[in-house]
Symmetry: C2
Subunit: 336 residues, 2 copies
């Protein structure tokens, strides 16, 4: 991308949970923004969102919304990305797309900057931001893969409702209040009560019995790690938590595991924070990860029988590293 003092940046889906976090992340990380163009559906157009203390009016997303834009951050769902992403590219934008629309398309880079920065090209085009559950997992796996070679991963997730957007945060809030007051619960976002319950169901079910969310973890992990021999077996579960996804990850490796070495390579890896002092009740927690940038890793322990396997507990803010932050980090890599 051509070097400039500052760049014109568009945020598509600006009023959503991820869109708002994108705006906050651009501000916090002092991304060199000349113009910030906030785009959303006609329903949200006209509302204002603050950026560096000044109100920015949200505009309706249209075919000609991307004139003079250098970088467009999309987070408005796959159909919006399919419809408007190519329009933005046509007028010279780099599109960083948080939806699933283009992730598995050959030729489209799928990028976690700590893991595969070299996948980012220099031409205008689409760069895909991976699924939130996958991002935090590959950040923890990459240093282990480099050192011990990861062969197999068995992962069970504990995913917060913010992954389903602001309306799901509202649903958990309202259902929790209703349940505590013994009042009837209203369900709109999820097919079952999420308050005080766990749903082993994220995204739609496929014929093989896995959900789309689970298959994203299988396929995106291989593409990001650049290694089709890595086998992931996922179970993705929605839990009554507002922010941050937690993951119980079992990893099998080619090389024998040394826990001290695992801590060393994880601690040295950018974006990872090792939080692992169980004797002091210190381990990664969803409420601690919320609002933070790092992927927190703890409960590091060897398998009791297999010397080439270990367990991890990995927690990250799904709206930040799982979405907005990762997108902004891709933008930072582009202009570096």
């Amino acid at each position: 991308m051509q070097k400039k003092e500052a760049y014109n940046v568009a945020v598509v889906g600006a009023t959503g949970a991820v869109g708002r976090t994108m705006i906050a992340t651009l501000e916090e990380r002092k991304f060199p923004v000349a113009e910030l163009r906030l785009l959303a559906s006609s329903r949200s157009a006209g509302s204002e969102l603050p950026f560096h203390g000044k109100p920015v009016t949200v505009q309706e997303l249209k075919n000609d919304s991307f004139q003079d834009i250098d970088i467009a951050l999309f987070s408005a769902g796959a159909s919006t990305s399919r419809q408007f992403g190519p329009k933005a590219v046509e007028v010279g934008c780099v599109v960083i797309d948080n939806s699933s629309a283009f992730r598995m398309e050959p030729g489209i880079p799928l990028v976690v900057p700590e893991v595969n920065p070299d996948a980012i090209g220099s031409e205008p085009g689409i760069i895909a931001n991976p699924n939130c559950s996958t991002i935090q997992m590959v950040v923890a796996l990459k240093p282990l893969h480099d050192r011990f070679r990861v062969r197999r991963v068995i992962v069970s997730t504990y995913q917060s409702v913010s992954g389903s957007g602001q309306k799901a945060i509202d649903e958990l809030t309202h259902q929790s209040k209703s349940a505590l007051n013994c009042e009837p619960l209203v369900k709109n976002v999820y097919p079952h009560q999420i308050a005080f319950n766990c749903l082993p169901h994220i995204d739609t079910f496929l014929d093989n019995g896995y959900t789309k969310e689970e298959m994203k973890m299988v396929n995106e992990t291989r593409k990001i790690m650049g290694d089709d021999s890595i086998h992931v077996t996922p179970t993705t579960v929605r839990v009554p938590v507002m922010y941050s996804h937690s993951e119980s990850i079992y990893v099998e490796t080619d090389e024998e595991i040394d826990v001290a070495e695992v801590r060393r390579v994880l601690s040295a890896f950018p974006g990872v924070s090792v939080v692992d002092a169980p004797e002091k009740n210190e381990y990664p927690l969803a409420i601690d990860a919320a609002g933070r940038d790092e992927v927190m890793v703890g409960r590091i322990r060897k398998d009791l029988a297999n010397p080439k396997a270990l367990n991890l507990w990995v927690v990250a803010d799904n709206l930040r590293k799982g979405a907005a932050l990762n997108a902004v980090q891709i933008a930072e890599a582009l202009i570096r």
Copy 2:
């Protein structure tokens, strides 16, 4: 045990969450009770609990509390069981103990009636009731072990707060209200906030990095299944759910898995309810299992790469099958 028309039954720890469920379960299942003797600490003595519509006064637990008792159901913690269990046996009682005090002692049967009924002896003595997370897992594993031979299990749990007793139910209730009202949270039971959070920490940590709860799942599974070659790797997690434990279980077998056959052997196994119609959004849920006797099994699917492995989602009421019901079922087997 000598056959009688009805038996004198003591419940030790009668006022706790499990004790109350034991009383309800004896009533529901029409266990032939002549006298029901409710025992608890001096703090709870004098209070009344209903049994078949009549109030029963709680007595203080003492050394001579077990005169004329046939069966004593203990659920008042390991130290109470160690102190009073042997006293009850001395006067001819069969003790069914829900604590961890005697579970791994050689010679003490550790029983899940659907799995290893033959372990129940006929002499007075102590019979141990397994850990709640272990009970529901082995009920799902046993028919698979009989048909496909289970070699390895990787399990991540989603355990409700009722496993920590009534005070933890109160803590989740109060913390949830406080969090929803943006008020400070009070912590007494857990070292961290449990409302809208997940704690990868149940029971105390051991030197190997696993918790006692995790090691119970490793060791008790082998003893109940009568097969020391079964290897369990657990991660136990407390989630903000009131009742029922959910478990994401990955099972490796000797024989190749056939999913239709898995459904068949699970459906035919006593105590199991297969709930597995994802196309209709039907899978086991904590809120559905609460108050029910069955172990619910769903999300049955083969591993995508290993034909000798499958995933399950297993949910049961931890106070019922995980504790009170299993104890009463042992009592039923004793008098059969």
